[in-house]
């Protein structure tokens, strides 16, 4: 028992020093961020976020007390030296993905990003396919029609314009 006492002592001394070091370091990091993060720095992050209550109002312009508190929390975290992505992750961990202005690219959310381009490209391909079919179908009458509606240029433009206007009337 008598031998154990200095070991305990040493352990507690190290622990105390460790805590003092952490306190000093965190104090230093606060000092390093001085002056307090500006509203613009806070808003730069808040602009990319939405609170779960105020639907569709970005956090930087939301006038509610809750959103004010969130912005203050962002300010504190910036003062602690946290990066924007760490701050956003903090809010995601506590309130879910909906705080972000767009869903994270994971799981089901991929559908948000993938489906519109797939639909558009499919539409484009279908359009080209339809064009090709039309072209094949109309080859027989192609030459005949072309000679009837020759590309207009120069003085022919005037004739075409008058022709179109006449047809309207």
């Amino acid at each position: 028992m008598g031998k154990k006492a200095p070991a305990n002592h040493l352990f507690f001394t190290i622990l105390l020093l460790f805590f003092i070091a952490i306190t000093v370091l965190s104090f230093k990091s606060v000092r390093a961020q001085e002056p307090t993060p500006s509203d613009d720095e806070v808003n730069a992050i808040a602009r990319q976020m939405f609170c779960p209550i105020c639907e569709n109002t970005p956090l930087d312009v939301c006038p509610t007390e809750a959103c004010h508190d969130w912005r203050e929390l962002i300010r504190q975290m910036l003062a602690q030296g946290k990066t924007p992505s760490e701050i956003k992750q903090y809010f995601v961990d506590h309130y879910g993905d909906r705080v972000l202005s767009e869903p994270p690219r994971a799981g089901l959310n991929w559908l948000v990003y993938v489906l519109p381009p797939i639909a558009f490209i499919t539409g484009l391909l279908l359009l080209f396919r339809a064009f090709r079919m039309w072209k094949v179908k109309s080859t027989a009458t192609f030459q005949e029609e072309v000679s009837a509606s020759k590309p207009a240029h120069g003085n022919e433009y005037a004739t075409r314009l008058e022709d179109e206007l006449r047809r309207r009337n």
Partner: protein, 668 residues
Amino acid sequence: MLAQFGFGILVVTFLLSLFSTSSAIYGYFSKSDRWVESARRALQLTFPLISLSALGLIYLLATGHYELEYVYSVTNHEMPLYLKITALWGGQAGSLLFWAWLMSAFASAMTLRKWDRDREFLPWVVAVTSLTLAFFLSLIIFFENPFIRLWQTISGEIAAHMFAPAGASLFLPSEGRGLNELLRHPGMVFHPPMLYLGFVAFVIPYAFAIAALVTGRTDDRWTRLTRRWTLVAWLFLSIGLVLGMRWAYDVLGWGGYWGWDPVEIAALMPWLASTPFLHSVMIQEKRGMLKQWNMLLIILTYSLVIFGTFLTRSGVLSSVHAFAQSAIGPMFFIFIGITFIISISLLIYRWNDLRAEVEMKSLLSREALFLLNNLLFLGVLIVCFWGVIFPLISEIVTGQKITVGPPFYLRATGPLWGALMALMGIAPLSAWGYSTLKTIGRAIWKPTIPTLLVPFVLIVLNVRNWIALLGFTLVAFVVFVTLYEFWRGVSARRKTQGENFLIALVRLTRRNRRRYGGYIIHVAMVVMAIGILGIEVFQTQTQQTLAVGQDMQISGYTLQYDSLAQFPYVDGRQVTRAVLSVYKDGKYLGDLYPRYDLFPDGQPMTIPAIRSTLADDLYVVLVNWENISINETPFKVYHNPLVNWLWIGSAIFVLGYLVSAWPEAETM
């Protein structure tokens, strides 16, 4: 008494609409003109009847009958008369009645036209219109009745019922809650009627389309008959959207005009389906093509009109659970589902009859480019639709709601808008029927030369953002192509007719209003794009807390904080107003007065101060959520370059529309 009368009239009109639907269908199948005529007259009657009901509600709103739950919730004594009247569309129940009122006006007007040449369309046009009207009236009568009154039961509870519960007496509150202050802005007074007018007017071309599908008269007659209806609907929808943007800019205090909010997108979606329809319907009329496609687009437009109303009225945007709990949500859902399935089934049934009379020959012909334009618009529509419904799908599948916000929409739709602008430049230069790179190249080089100067000038002016460089170049391209098109037309007339420039210009435009009005609308769109590019690419903002006497800088401007005053206004609100002097390069430009109003009912409202010029807007907000004092006043300032061009473009749009839609008297 008036409340029961107004409600009773609605019930009668509902029954009349159902009668109109059923007798029109019966008349069609039994080939009885008398039944069809009876249906037409019944539909005609709906407008005067709903007018009585709506005017009754307006009277109750204007005279402060707070025993009506609706009047109590949207008016109070302090509101001026015009706001009490416009409170008709300030709440859910009233706005549905207003929707039905406008719908009946269009339906009645439509029945008054001469039907001699198109008698076969009549039963189905009447049936579809009256059924849509009956649906909205059923929502009002059974779920969102604006004539419901407040009753005090024996136990002392206040309950809302149409008719007196046993032993209850009418409850008369001495004051109403009043309309939300944010809605007391001219933009919001006129925005909903414009939007609703646009929405309901699209029911008419849809009804004609269904009539064409059922009767098998699938030539371009239905599109010609509904051209003006479609244009009117499109105009109102467009103006409604712009007014909504202006309201957001002036009232919401976040420095922008469009937040990609699902409610905004709900109004945009019918516009995104109807704009390609306006284009492709021209191909059907000129070339006998795309008949199936046009049917699909008008069905889509109608469905999106109902879907947009559903999104904003059912509570589904808050949560899928709110939708399930709301009374009207499932009703809307069922109606949209049934009408969409029936419409598409009819389209499939007539698919072969709707085949094109001629085939498309060239990838660069005007009709091919129009089709590409259609695809791009639908691309934007898909992005919007998916962005709005995905959070709901996520909530159903994972139980978690997610936000699909502005960055997604900007990134996904930006290239599509850019491509549409490029097409606006190229398409007018291609010919109907047949065009090649050579023929377009021959026409395009002239407007391209001045266009190419634009990026050089911008680079000299130190613009380095590639989106801005590309965007402004496309704007210039469309403007130069349009000018070139006018110049080509005028020169041709001068040569062939010997007219002077002005007469040639007027006659050219008058003889093909749709084409040249359309060109003016193209210019309007790219002028609006200048404003959009300005704010999206170059907007800067800062938030600073100042003491009186201090100043702040933004984008070359200096704003000096001069004074702060707090005073009561005659209507009871407490006004906090700051005065800032604006300087640029040391020169005094004027004062700005950002305000924060606190209304007696505790509702706050931030009123931004805006200094607006053609070059930029300086937009100052008194940040109301912070503690405001003379020594610590938080300001948020936005510098919005070129945003005014958005509103100027809107005015040009109306001008282009008037040119395009003006009745062509000389051709009659």
